[in-house]
Symmetry: C2
Subunit: 290 residues, 2 copies
């Protein structure tokens, strides 16, 4: 796969040479042609910074799907509840989990699904193993059951959920996890999903794995400390400047088409298909590097 470097170069050359249009564009062409307002900046009031392992993880929260959990997490961040707590669990191909400090608060409503009404759903065309329909809502991967009028966030790599104990406990936000490997979609509708990591995943996924059952760190291991803040509470100059490709745009549709049917010369057999967790919207620094 050295050739992927060459592929990138070839794609840039093809772009520069303006050859005849094919039915779908290459990925690089789609992004190069995107207009400034095809991108959106996350709301700093709904963005969490998790400082860990010498860097900053940026999480965009999803109040449309788990309003009570998101409100609780925002409040906990603002009262510095998580600060000085630790990453407690790193399980290969599954989750990284932090927090868990003693929180005297009742568990929240389950918020595992919500109604489909009022969601700007950008469907994906190739089906799904776990749900009748899948697509994107405001940049988040969503599964949908039209018969039940229900929608829920999917456990894709980089999605954030709220840990809980046994039912009927639904979690109170004291402990959060991030999906770190292949999508454990069997967790969908069993836990409250509250957002997506937009940047900094390797700060979590490259941590040493826990050696106890379920990837929990052993008692004698130095656990990575965390600090959690709401982006809005951080001075403007110190915020992470990110933009997410909007999923309610023609550019998003072109991006999906380009990923479904790869035109780059590396691909001898373009699949013509795309699965939900391989269709997460791209994130860029803002303004982009020239």
């Amino acid at each position: 796969m050295n050739g992927w470097r060459i592929q990138l170069l070839a794609a840039l050359l093809a772009l520069a040479c303006a050859g005849p249009q094919t039915t779908t564009q290459k990925l690089e062409q789609v992004l190069a042609h995107a207009k400034p307002d095809d991108w959106r900046a996350p709301d700093p009031q709904q963005t969490l910074y998790v400082d860990v392992n010498g860097g900053r993880v940026v999480i965009e929260l999803a109040p449309a799907f788990a309003p009570q959990h998101v409100a609780a997490i925002r409040a906990l961040a603002q009262r510095q509840f998580y600060d000085g707590q630790h990453v407690v669990r790193v399980q290969e191909n599954y989750v990284v989990q932090w927090g868990g400090g003693d929180l005297q608060a009742p568990a929240l409503a389950d918020e595992y699904t919500r109604t489909t009404a009022g969601l700007a759903f950008a469907p994906l065309p190739d089906g799904d193993v776990y749900a009748p329909e899948v697509g994107l809502v405001d940049g988040l991967p969503v599964a949908r059951d039209p018969a039940a009028h229900a929608a829920w966030l999917a456990h894709c790599w980089s999605m954030v959920g709220v840990g809980r104990d046994m039912p009927p406990d639904n979690g109170n936000g004291a402990e959060l996890y991030v999906v770190s490997g292949h999508a454990p979609r069997h967790l969908d509708r069993n836990l409250a999903v509250v957002g997506r990591v937009l940047s900094g995943m390797p700060l979590l996924t490259a941590l040493p794995r826990g050696t106890e059952a379920l990837g929990f760190y052993a008692a004698d291991v130095a656990k990575p400390p965390i600090r959690v803040q709401l982006a809005a509470d951080v001075p403007l100059a110190e915020r992470v400047k990110l933009e997410v490709l909007r999923t309610d745009t023609a550019t998003w549709q072109a991006y999906v088409a380009a990923r479904r049917t790869r035109r780059e010369p590396f691909f001898v057999t373009p699949t013509g298909r795309i699965e939900l967790c391989n269709a997460l919207p791209p994130v860029r620094t803002s303004p982009p590097n020239p």
Copy 2:
């Protein structure tokens, strides 16, 4: 998800209490009831040891799917071609890649697909986004197109492939990669897949990410050195003792049923579905811990 500890305990208690049978068993019950010959030991002639980062990665090769590539890799291991080479690429949620040293050998036949004839295919029941049919063959995740009489190994987490340059190059085995995140199934039928990592994934996936394009390490970074041996060339006492659950057994069917419909009390909404890359056969040390 502290509750998963409780869940494990509850499952063990349920097992000990021998309550009435439900239509599907719990995962722990299935594995506890497995017979010794439901497990198989990988052939040491078709098993690769990759020593890296202070530990040993064990790869079961797949000569039934990529015979020429596997033969080339075995020969390269036996002549110590890879020894002293390095991990060169660690890309988040994609691949970890090693080798690439100068190999004066022509590229091999593509071996991206093979005929379906003669494969002991254990189908999965819930479909797939990328292929008409999916299932397991000798413990490996396989996609199948009956109309084309074609089968191929799927790019699931932990699967191993052969790096290549641009077509018509198909790679010669000098450079290998392991899928480290969500399944990049768009690579299926575009690269030769040659095996599956049975143990040691964190030795690769917890390595620092490369900072160059596509996750390649920068020139000035100390790259993790590797040593690669065929298991058969290692003294018996020093071999890693592993067993893989056989996929041509009733126990495998029970395992899939238990993963499709989780009976553990943690799950409030069992999905009743399972996707190929969430159905990789379990691996245990042999003999298992008591």
